[in-house]
């Protein structure tokens, strides 16, 4: 049988077929952070002594709350820190850290054909490298650290072919949201999304990570993209990355359990209006007339309302979806020479991204615009620290989840690409880059008329 890329990676890692359609699947890398790791790591030590399958196959870091915001999160961080030291596990501490899905690729820990797991649902991000990377629970992660393997049901593979070219103003985030809206918020459940097509080949590695990052938001086990010259160039430019790895791709006429085709030319800058990432629409569009009442009442919106009429209270650029250097550059382009009109938080995905941004002077652009430039953290994306919302507050965010309460109890979240978030931060309401340029022209026209009157 002709195999998909996912099939090849899976087959190369199956140690044993198990009852009930399960398999024992070998994990090349286990990523561990301070929120989900401690209970499992400590229970291995308690129940199995110091035994880990192979400490060299684990990398740990502080990522969610960095630095700790209180004694409880300090204990989480310190637990991971001391555990990593005891077990001889590579560890990235506060100062040298990052969101795991940003740090792992930039330090060269992931290469094509690998299997990677982490107690974090957005581990699917690393599928951008042609790896099988997935989020799991704490106990499953402990199992992978103890025995080197996960127990998994073999997922089906859905080919998501994206043909043509994205319009100039549409980004990987817009494509990710469009994919979810197309296949449905739970349409990917039981599947791996294998992205193919000319629009995918044209994406940078960072953009591929943004796309794969949101595969979980369609319910999918993960997303995966075949490695190519873009992947090779990224890995070659990454200090610490292995030089030898094998490029893999699907067979030409591979069989897929399902296929979806999206014409990239139809992808528009989008923003979410509802309470799951599938509930989104073009920025210049309206809340759908058939929108569910529960979503509308939580978001305090009405059917048919223009999205551009929605005023915001806060803007956030960051999270494992959109906090890499390319995202910050895109946002800086919008902020340059303008001022934000709502509190705006810009949080780089890693300390390495932060330093790169500062070498390029992006931090000056953000701060000149009146935005807050922070160190790396997961931040307000999951309502834990550094920008949590109050009930009723409305935030436009480059993150990945708009569930009720996600960024704070009662808070309302609109998901969008960094450029749309930046444009909205300046406008004080949801708006696209085109809306911002139109406003600039009107302002310039008004200033000229004023000059003429004065003269």
């Amino acid at each position: 049988m002709k195999r998909s890329l996912f099939d090849k990676v899976w087959d190369a890692h199956v140690v044993e077929e198990l009852p009930g359609g399960n398999a024992l699947v070998f994990m090349d890398l286990v990523v561990a952070h301070e929120i989900t790791t401690p209970p499992g790591a400590l229970s291995i030590e308690r129940e199995f002594g110091d035994k880990l399958y192979e400490p060299n196959r684990i990398v740990a870091m502080i990522d969610h709350v960095a630095p700790a915001k209180d004694s409880a999160t300090a204990l989480q961080a310190h637990t991971v820190r001391t555990w990593a030291k005891r077990q001889g596990i590579r560890f990235h501490d506060v100062g040298d850290n990052g969101i795991c899905h940003v740090l792992v690729p930039e330090r060269g820990y992931v290469t094509p054909g690998m299997t990677v797991c982490c107690g974090d649902s957005h581990t699917c991000t690393l599928g951008a490298f042609g790896a099988f990377a997935l989020g799991i629970g704490t106990t499953a992660q402990a199992g992978a650290m103890l025995a080197g393997c996960l127990i998994l049901q073999r997922p089906k593979v859905m080919r998501v072919e994206v043909t043509g070219e994205l319009p100039f103003d549409a980004t990987a985030k817009d494509l990710a949201l469009t994919v979810i809206a197309t296949i449905g918020f739970r349409g990917g459940t039981g599947y791996v999304l294998e992205y193919t097509g000319s629009a995918i080949s044209a994406l940078t590695m960072e953009q591929r990570m943004t796309l794969c990052n949101m595969a979980i938001e369609a319910g999918a086990t993960t997303g995966i993209i075949a490695s190519d010259e873009t992947t090779a160039a990224y890995i070659a430019a990454t200090p610490g990355a292995p030089e030898n790895w094998m490029s893999q791709a699907a067979d030409d006429d591979a069989e897929y359990a399902a296929t979806v085709t999206i014409d990239a030319r139809t992808v528009r800058p989008v923003v979410s209006w509802g309470t799951n990432p599938g509930e989104c629409a073009p920025v210049d569009g309206c809340v759908p007339l058939d929108a569910p009442q529960a979503s509308l009442s939580y978001m305090d919106l009405r059917p048919g309302q223009e999205l551009r009429s929605i005023e915001i209270d806060q803007a956030f650029i960051g999270s494992c979806t959109n906090s890499r250097i390319g995202d910050l550059r895109a946002a800086a382009e919008i902020f340059r020479g303008r001022r934000v009109s709502v509190p705006t938080i810009v949080t780089p995905g890693s300390q390495a991204v932060r330093r790169q941004a500062e070498r390029e002077g992006l931090h000056d652009i953000f701060q000149d615009a009146g935005a807050l430039w922070t160190h790396s953290s997961c931040g307000p994306c999951l309502g834990m620290s550094m920008g949590v919302l109050a009930p009723g507050m409305r935030c436009i965010s480059s993150s990945n989840r708009n569930f009720p309460g996600r960024m704070g109890d009662g808070g309302r979240v609109h998901l969008a690409a960094p450029a749309v978030v930046a444009a909205s931060a300046i406008l004080g309401r949801i708006g696209s880059v085109s809306d911002l340029l139109r406003r600039d022209e009107e302002n310039a026209g008004a200033a000229q008329r004023e000059l003429a009157v004065t003269a």
């Binding site: 009852p19 399958y53 739970r186 109890d409």
Partner: protein, 174 residues
Amino acid sequence: MIVEGAVLAIPRANIDTDQIIPARHLTRIDAEGMGEHLFEGLPDGAALLASRPDATILVTGENFGCGSSREHAAWALTGRGFRAVIAPSFARIFLENAYTNALVPVTLPQATVDELARAQNIAIDVEAETLRADGGPPISFALDALRKHFVLGGGFLQYLNAKIPGIRAWEAAR
């Protein structure tokens, strides 16, 4: 093993892990105390739980447990005394977490789940993979043939621990 008890029905689709337990409570290094925060992310969560304080069986909607990987969602349910969740479908990671925490995940068609949502009491025979609502006729469902073992008392980590020699041999021959 019979899992029997009072039913709490929350017949809504897409109850995500942020609604089951908000991230602000993910600040412990163990699995304790999560039950106190169960459904804090649902606007009417406290009232729903108060309406059936003795409930041990949750009947709910499609795609239960979607969103983050936090096993805290399963711990919050078991910590509050829940022993089974009945839904038309589950998100993958939640389903895996349910099994490893002996929280019986029962998948049944929407129409059946709608009927069960009206039941007062449900008894689940885990070995036989059948359940009865209010003493009614048995309804069959299917559990994962391997993971059922973890619900019935077989330890998940012990199972993997026993596999290590085979895994090492596989890796050596890789």
